[in-house]
């Protein structure tokens, strides 16, 4: 289990794979105010990243893993996705 809703926060843990995307989208629909906690995330599929971009939820904690921290976090932090 790599995604779970913990109160107001969706926690990403370990590897978030393509098959987790459906779960994530369901959680995002289910909890429209939920924020994202990526601290324990070790890897992320592009489909998961895309869902994050689409829904544009605030991130409360960024990953510590090398690539996610160095490249993905800046790539996402700089974007303010437009909700159309």
């Amino acid at each position: 289990m790599s995604l779970r809703l913990d109160g107001d926060v969706i926690r990403f843990e370990g590897q978030c794979r393509v098959e987790d995307t459906e779960t994530l989208v369901a959680l995002l629909h289910k909890a429209p105010e939920a924020k994202l906690d990526l601290a324990a995330c070790q890897g992320m599929h592009a489909a998961v990243v895309q869902a994050m971009l689409a829904f544009g939820r605030p991130v409360v904690a960024w990953p510590t893993e090398g690539f996610l921290k160095d490249h993905l976090a800046p790539a996402l932090a700089g974007l303010r996705p437009t909700k159309l």
Partner: protein, 622 residues
């Protein structure tokens, strides 16, 4: 302040200011897109590097200059005041680099200087000092635009994993390809991303990492469009510590000496019973070594060669400053900076050239009013040029100033007690001009602050002589003067003839030797207080090497051994005891007490470890 990086920044900064100054000089002659692009790049890089240090005024000023150059590139501005302002900015940057080199900080008042120059360029400095470019524009590398196919998730691709595998990734941006639309109907399995990234790796490596999605990727090399015209002209270079090259050069010299030992061995082998075969084998080896060592020496010599441009490019700013302080208007031109000479020569020429240029500005060039009064243009022309002539480089400083009056120079030398009346009477114009090279001539009270710092033309001459060169002078009253420095391009191998005289060995550079001859005593003809002999219908005067080097002449043999040397256009016979050897050697300039020993070109080490003095026939006999 980042201390580790500062030395690198100073080296790089000098190169870049030189480049920018050179480009601006080209632009001053007329529109020049290549120079404009090159100048823009130099300023841009300089700004980027300066931003690594705590130098807000420098960064802001360079930023403003970059903006101005950018506007000029796009044709948005063609302000004629822009070029002089940019030249001032580059000069100021160079001055700041001087300050950084001296004390690692900018002097106080840098902000005022910055504001003044920014105003000159007609632009206010940007408010943020630490403006950071997007990485993509500052770094070279490969830009990647990857637009994964919409069905790639179904196909099992993870575009993020693919981009992650690209080596040297420095900047990643991820954005939706199209707006996501109604999130209630969000489709998690249709890819709607576009990824942009920069890689510092080679294009080939980037292509390899993306080969499976090559149809979805567009690559472009950053800054390629701007530099495409100059890429081919750029020479690949490597910065190497000068000491290492010097060490390599010393080792090569020693190899030349060690190689010489083989000839001795061959000669010894020859004397052995049955030694002939061995001697021949040794000689064959020696011939091979000869060739290799010669090539090695030539290659090392070329490593040591460097263009004069970095040296020459330091002068325009100094000339402008000196001219301004003297209230003179000078158009200074530099040419031949691409000429390559031994690094030792480049390094040793700054002081002498600076002095010659200051002299020209101070004493040679007249004030604008004086020039106009004598029917000249108010602005004077001063030119620093270099060209190679065989194995020498000729560097000239030419001004169109007042010129030097030989009679006045002679009077000044008389007044300063450097020569007496009888010497003065014997001087022709050319010899009179040469008086400025006498120690004590230009340190006199008439010299101004600028050129009279106790450094006279005598210092110029001896500095040039130490580099194995000479200084010539030509001047026409009212028309201007030319100071010409003639220097060796490389400290290369010289062919030397070894002769003996009174039991000592001396070297003579073979280039000055025409031939050797045996002359019987009976063939000599007395001519005034000396003797001469006839060689192929030409009368050749004789001198004795013993006299020249201050040794006593040996008892007169029946047949004299004579080395016929060309001194100027004339042949002179030099009587030696014997010609003992010919060899290739590197002549080292004399150092220490012997620096100014007359008639000595330098010295070289022989195979047996003894030092051989190499004589300068021109000076000894001339």
């Amino acid at each position: 302040m980042n201390d580790d990086l500062l030395p690198h920044f100073l080296i790089e900064g000098r190169d870049l200011t030189e480049q920018a100054a050179h480009d601006l000089q080209m632009l001053a002659r007329g529109p020049d897109k290549i120079a404009l692009d090159s100048c823009f790049r130099a300023i841009h890089t300089l700004k980027g590097s300066a931003a690594l240090f705590d130098l807000p005024p420098m960064v802001r000023l360079l930023h403003a200059a970059e903006d101005l150059l950018g506007a000029m590139r796009s044709g948005a501005t063609a302000d004629p005041a822009a070029l002089p302002a940019l030249i001032e900015v580059v000069d100021q940057t160079d001055r700041w680099l001087d300050e950084l080199a001296a004390s690692a900080v900018l002097k106080t008042g840098a902000e005022q200087v910055e504001k003044r120059l920014a105003a000159l360029m007609g632009r206010a400095p940007p408010p943020e000092a630490s403006d950071t470019d997007p990485v993509t524009t500052r770094l070279g590398g490969v830009a990647i635009r990857y637009t994964p196919r919409a069905d790639c998730y179904f196909a099992g691709d993870d575009p993020l994993a693919i981009i992650r595998a690209v080596p040297g990734l420095v900047d990643l941006r991820i954005a939706p390809r199209e707006p996501f639309g109604d999130l209630a109907r969000y489709d998690p399995f249709t890819c709607n991303l576009v990824m942009e990234a920069v890689s510092t790796a080679e294009r080939g490596a980037v292509e390899a990492a993306l080969r499976l999605v090559a149809d979805q990727v567009v690559l472009s090399e950053l800054a390629q469009t701007a530099s495409v015209e100059t890429v081919e002209a750029e020479v690949r270079t490597l910065r190497v510590a000068a000491e290492r090259v010097d060490h390599l050069s010393d080792l090569t010299d020693e190899l030349v000496i060690a190689k010489g030992g083989l000839a001795l061995l061959a000669a010894q082998a020859e004397r052995l019973a049955e030694g002939h075969v061995l001697a021949q084998a040794l000689r064959a080896q020696q011939a091979r070594l000869d060739r290799l060592v010669g090539e090695l020496h030539g290659t090392v010599g070329r490593i040591r060669q460097a263009p004069l441009a970095p040296l020459f490019n330091r002068f325009p700013r100094l000339v402008r400053e000196v001219a301004r302080s003297l209230g003179k208007t000078v158009s200074f031109e530099v040419e031949g900076g691409e000429t390559e000479v031994d690094k030792a020569v480049v390094d040793g020429l700054y002081e002498p050239l600076l002095h010659v240029l200051r002299n020209a500005l101070d004493h040679g060039i007249e004030t604008p009013a004086m020039r106009e009064a004598s029917g000249k243009s108010a602005a004077s022309a001063l030119r620093l040029s270099a060209r190679s002539a065989g194995d020498r480089v000729v560097i000239e400083v030419i001004d169109d100033g007042a010129g030097m009056d030989p009679r006045r120079i002679q009077d000044m030398a008389l007044a300063r007690g450097l020569i007496d009346e009888s010497q003065a009477a014997a001087l022709d114009d050319r010899a009179a001009l040469e008086l400025i090279f006498l120690p004590g001539f230009s340190t006199a009270a008439t010299a101004s602050d600028l050129s009279g710092r106790g450094v006279g033309m005598d210092a110029v001459r001896s500095a040039v002589a130490r580099l194995g060169g000479r200084v010539e002078i030509a001047s026409q009253v009212g028309k201007g003067s030319t100071i010409r420095l003639v220097l060796p391009i490389s400290m290369a191998l010289t062919k030397i003839m070894v002769v003996t005289c009174s039991g000592e060995r001396f070297g003579l550079a073979i280039e000055g030797v025409a031939e050797t001859a045996r002359v019987a005593i009976g063939q000599l003809t007395p001519v005034r207080d000396t003797e001469a002999f006839v060689l192929r219908d030409q009368v050749v005067p004789l001198v004795h090497l013993a006299d020249l080097v201050g040794a006593s002449r040996p008892t007169r043999p029946e047949v004299l051994r004579v080395v016929v040397a060309k001194v100027g256009d004339e042949s002179v016979g030099i009587v030696v005891d014997a010609v003992v050897d010919r060899l290739d050697a590197t002549i080292r300039p004399m150092s220490g007490l012997l620096v100014n020993a007359p008639g000595v070109n330098g010295s070289t080490l022989l195979a047996d470890g003894t030092v051989l003095m190499v004589l300068d026939l021109q000076e000894l006999v001339g």
